[in-house]
Amino acid sequence: MLLLQPAVQARLVDVSELSTFSGARIAFWIIAAIVLLGALATITRKNPIAAVMSLVATFFGLAATYALLSAHFLAALQVLVYAGAIMVLFIFVVMVLNRDEVEPIAVRGAFTKAVGVAAVGYLVVKLGYQLSTVLAPMPGPPPPEFGTVAQVGNILFTDYLFAFEMVSVLLLIAVIAAVVVARAHKREESPEEPQT
C-alpha cells in the first residue's frame, strides 16, 4: 500500500490540486460507490437477509476506506467485529424471526416522514456544499507507524486504560443482559393474547 511509504516531509496541498482526479481518488470513489450502494440496498430491501448481505458489503467497503486513511488496525477490526461478529448475530436473529414484511415502508404518518427525509436531504446537501467550498489543506503522508496495532495499542493501554477496562465491563453487562432478555421465560403468554 502506497500509504505505508516512509514519511516524507509534510506538505500542504495546493487547493487547485484537489479538484483534479488522481487515480487514488477514482479508486476511493469506486469503494465509496460500493459503500453507498450497499447502504442504499440495506434500507430498501424487503427481504431482511438481502439487507444483511448488503450491510456486509458496506462493512467491507468501509474497511477498505479505513485502509486508505492509514488506519490499518481499525480496518482489520472493522472486518473482524462488524463483518464477522455483529453480522453473524444479525443473520441468526433474522433466521429466527424470518418473515417478509407486508408493507416495508408504512404510509401512515407520511407527511411527518416526508418532512424528516427532506430535513436529512437538506442537511447532507448543505454539508456537501460546505465541504466543497471550505477546503482545509490536507497534511502530507503520516508517519509510517501511524494507525498500526502497536501505536493504537500503546494509546489504549496508557491514555485510555480506564475506558478500555470499562468497555470490558460494559460488554460483560451486555452479554448478561442479552441472555436475560432473550431467554425463554417459564410462564409465557399464548401468542394470541398479547399481555395488556
Partner: protein, 101 residues
C-alpha cells in the same frame, strides 16, 4: 496519491443520511437496528478521517471504543427484538404501541 479529506467526510455524511432515512422510513425493527449501525459507522469514519488529517492516532482509540459500544448495543438490541417477538409475534414497529398512552 492524494485523496482530499473532504471526500471521506462527504462519504460519512451520505452514509449517515442514509442511516437516518432508514430509521425514519422502515418499519422492521431489524432494518432499523441495521440503520443505526450505519450511522455509528459513519461517525467512526468521520473520526478516523479527522484523525488522518491531523495525524492524531487518538481518533483510532476513540473509534475502537465506539466499535465496542456498537457491538454491545447490537447484542442488547437484538435480544430485545427476540424478546418482543416472543411476546407479540411481530417485528413491526407500528404494532408496538403498548407504551404509547
Amino acid at each position: 496519491m492524494m485523496i482530499p479529506i473532504q471526500d471521506f467526510l462527504l462519504l460519512g455524511a451520505l452514509r449517515f443520511g442514509l442511516g437516518v432515512i432508514g430509521v425514519i422510513l422502515r418499519r422492521n425493527v431489524l432494518i432499523v437496528l441495521m440503520s443505526i449501525e450505519l450511522m455509528l459507522n459513519a461517525a467512526n469514519l468521520t473520526l478516523v478521517a479527522f484523525g488522518r488529517a491531523r495525524h492524531d492516532p487518538h481518533a483510532h482509540a476513540f473509534a475502537f471504543l465506539v466499535m465496542a459500544v456498537a457491538a454491545a448495543e447490537a447484542a442488547v438490541g437484538l435480544a430485545i427484538v427476540v424478546g418482543i417477538f416472543r411476546n407479540r409475534r411481530s417485528v413491526n414497529l407500528d404494532e408496538l404501541t403498548l407504551m404509547k398512552h
